[in-house]
């Protein structure tokens, strides 16, 4: 079998147009990346930014390079922009995967407890870090929180998968519902930690829950990159299978897809990408839910477009949101989750209203 029928997918684009859309999105990501590195609360002129970047790449640069400019671009802005791309891509890809897998437009990492588990673990370490968890914090130091968030995410995802798998068969509807139940549990645990926390911990928790990319380092970028890039590279391989899922799981089996493997791979990719994202940036809402809808509004529901397209738009969106977070209230900074929701919400509504007729 060479092609999978795409019945039920309206307006799916031919391969050439699909490639063009993805290329345009990649270009947009590149442009946004340059803008994000070029702008910030410290005004650095474009030629100076270019000089620093050329110099860093080992190319002959022109003009004087100030040490301060180099420090800001190389140690603050570049790792931060890289992290924004990774986290945005990871969250959006996870959202697209979950919506495809559950055939549910509301599925996103936050709804089914994947982020919730990470948040529960992270807030737990904030509140108990100075008492019960002293031996752990002594070993892991500043990495306690990201490691806890990552483990929390993997644990809840594994639990959800285990609960919905009977004799080697995974029931997608059960997985969605058990995910929602696990999320409720995680939220209850989170509430308990918030109840126990003192004034200072509460402020730390609030900021963590609203997400932030500040304090991005190269080390973080390098640590997170494999967990997010691996799903980004492998997941487009699931696109045809997810297209078949739209018809229903049984039809996907009849079309020759190993649906159990697809489900395992998809949920594994979500756990890796979301766990790594949440570990370094806290919980950033909106991206996972809405970005897949954006790309569908742009180019239809074909997962061969939706999966890579989501990753690209996720990167663009988070780069833009982080830029606003950095300069809007400089020299202070806004939590990025606030920006993604405040800007993304109205934009999404506008897009929805303007396309209402074509959507039906």
């Amino acid at each position: 079998m060479t092609t999978v029928p795409l019945a039920g997918i309206d307006g799916s684009l031919p391969a050439l147009r699909r490639g063009a859309v993805l290329a345009a999105l990649a270009l947009a990501l590149g442009i946004m990346f340059v803008v994000a590195v070029g702008m910030g609360p410290v005004p650095i002129s474009a030629p100076k930014v270019l000089a620093v970047l050329l110099d860093a790449a080992g190319l002959p640069s022109f003009g004087m390079i100030e040490e301060r400019d180099r420090a800001i671009i190389m140690a603050i802005r570049l790792p931060r922009a890289c992290l924004a791309v990774l986290v945005g891509a990871g969250l959006a890809l996870a959202g697209a995967l979950l919506q495809g897998l559950f055939r549910n437009p509301l599925a996103d990492p936050q709804l089914i407890g994947v982020s919730g588990g990470a948040a529960f673990a992270a807030v737990g370490t904030i509140v108990l870090g100075g008492t019960l968890l002293i031996p752990v914090t002594a070993i892991l130091g500043v990495y306690t929180l990201p490691v806890a968030a990552f483990i929390g995410c993997l644990t809840t995802t594994a639990l959800m998968y285990r609960l919905s798998t009977i004799e080697g068969r995974t029931f997608v509807a059960t997985m969605l519902l058990s995910g929602i139940a696990i999320n409720a549990l995680a939220m209850a645990g989170l509430g308990f930690f918030i109840f126990m926390s003192d004034d200072r911990q509460l402020r730390d928790i609030t900021f963590w829950m609203m997400g932030s990319l500040s304090g991005a380092t190269w080390k973080q970028v390098m640590t997170v990159a494999p967990f997010i890039l691996l799903p980004c590279v492998l997941v487009p391989g699931l696109a045809r299978a997810l297209n078949a899922f739209i018809l229903g799981e049984r039809d996907a089996v009849h079309l020759g897809f190993d649906t159990e493997t697809v489900k395992f791979a998809a949920i594994g990719a979500v756990a890796l990408a979301v766990g790594a994202s949440v570990a370094v940036s806290g919980t950033i809402g909106f991206v996972g839910l809405v970005v897949p809808h954006l790309i569908r509004l742009l180019g239809g529901a074909d997962h061969r477009l939706v999966l890579p397209g989501s990753a690209l738009i996720g990167g663009v969106l988070l780069l833009a949101a982080d830029l606003i977070a950095r300069i809007a209230v400089a020299p202070a900074e806004l939590p990025i989750g606030l920006v993604t929701s405040a800007l993304g919400g109205p934009f999404f509504l506008w897009l929805l209203l303007s396309r209402r007729r074509t959507l039906g």
Partner: protein, 296 residues
């Protein structure tokens, strides 16, 4: 002529020396008490930006705010072009501090201990950082003298009234301060005992535990009282109404930074609280200090 040249040279040398000692003229302060100390040392005009916990003296109100003490942004701080960043060890997040250090800007973080020695040590450390050790010694000695004066009067007092410190963050039950908090330290310095014990930090206060604690006096930050809707609203809280403090309407509020900042005004805050706790004790007024001149 030679003499005049020598005078000019000497003056020039003095000016240069002065410039070297006061090399840093663009200071960012992080933490309310550190900011207060810098101003009390007379170096306020060198401060160009502060964090949001720094709101005393009034001169800080017009300065750019670099965000909350524990949620700072490296590039935001660097955008005001500081040559010295001085603050409390509590400042963060840790990665931001790493980035600030990497930028080559001088960064000095100081421990915050809730004791009389902690206050004077902090004053001396800030002064040393600014190259104003002498002025720092005067300030530290003044605060230490005031604190020890209160301490010696309170030393002979047997009766230690029970004080409940209440913190209200937003909605929800107010929190009571246990041991190892700034509030606990303040209560002890002022000759009281903490009405709640058995836990560290802040915990929500239930009606029953409030009644069991039976405080003679309730101490709060003005900010908390405002959050709850005024002193009357505090007195109406079920957890307060049933206590001796509630019945005698003994709920008192002070500005948070003044009461719990452990900065240069600590001795005066202790003295005010001590007066409330021991109204019959002949506590003499502390000498007028120019660093306590205004209170927000």
């Amino acid at each position: 002529m030679l003499l005049r040249l020598a005078t000019v040279a000497a003056t020039a040398a003095l000016v240069l020396a002065g410039a070297a000692a006061a090399a840093e003229t663009r200071i960012v302060t992080l933490g309310g008490s550190v900011t207060e100390i810098v101003y009390a040392l007379g170096a306020g005009e060198r401060v160009i930006a502060v964090d949001t916990t720094s709101y005393h003296p009034v001169a800080t109100h017009g300065l750019p705010k670099v965000g909350y003490l524990r949620q700072l942004s490296a590039e935001g701080i660097l955008s005001v072009r500081p040559d010295l960043i001085v603050g409390l060890e509590e400042a963060g997040p840790p990665q931001t501090l790493v980035q600030l250090r990497d930028s080559g800007t001088r960064l000095q973080l100081l421990p915050d201990r809730f004791t009389a020695d902690g206050v004077t040590a902090k004053i001396r450390a800030v002064a040393a950082t600014l190259g104003m050790a002498e002025r720092g010694e005067t300030l530290a000695a003044g605060v230490a003298a005031d604190l020890s004066q209160i301490e010696s009067i309170l030393a002979g007092v047997r009766r230690r009234p029970k004080v409940l410190f209440l913190l209200a963050t937003s909605r929800g039950a107010p929190l009571a301060s246990g041991s190892e908090t700034a509030a606990d330290a303040m209560i002890h310095l002022a000759g009281g005992t903490n009405a709640v014990s058995g836990y560290r930090g802040y915990k929500p206060l239930s009606v029953e535990s409030a009644v069991a604690a039976a405080p003679d006096l309730v101490l709060m930050m003005q900010q908390s009282v405002d959050t709850l809707g005024g002193v009357e609203a505090v007195l109406a809280l079920p957890s307060i109404a049933a206590t001796p403090a509630g019945k005698a309407r003994r709920v008192f509020a002070f500005d948070g930074l003044y009461l719990l900042g452990f900065g240069p005004r600590t001795a005066h805050a202790v003295s005010e609280v001590a007066r409330l706790l021991h109204p019959n004790l002949p506590l003499p007024a502390l000498p007028a200090r120019d660093w306590v001149a205004t209170r927000p």
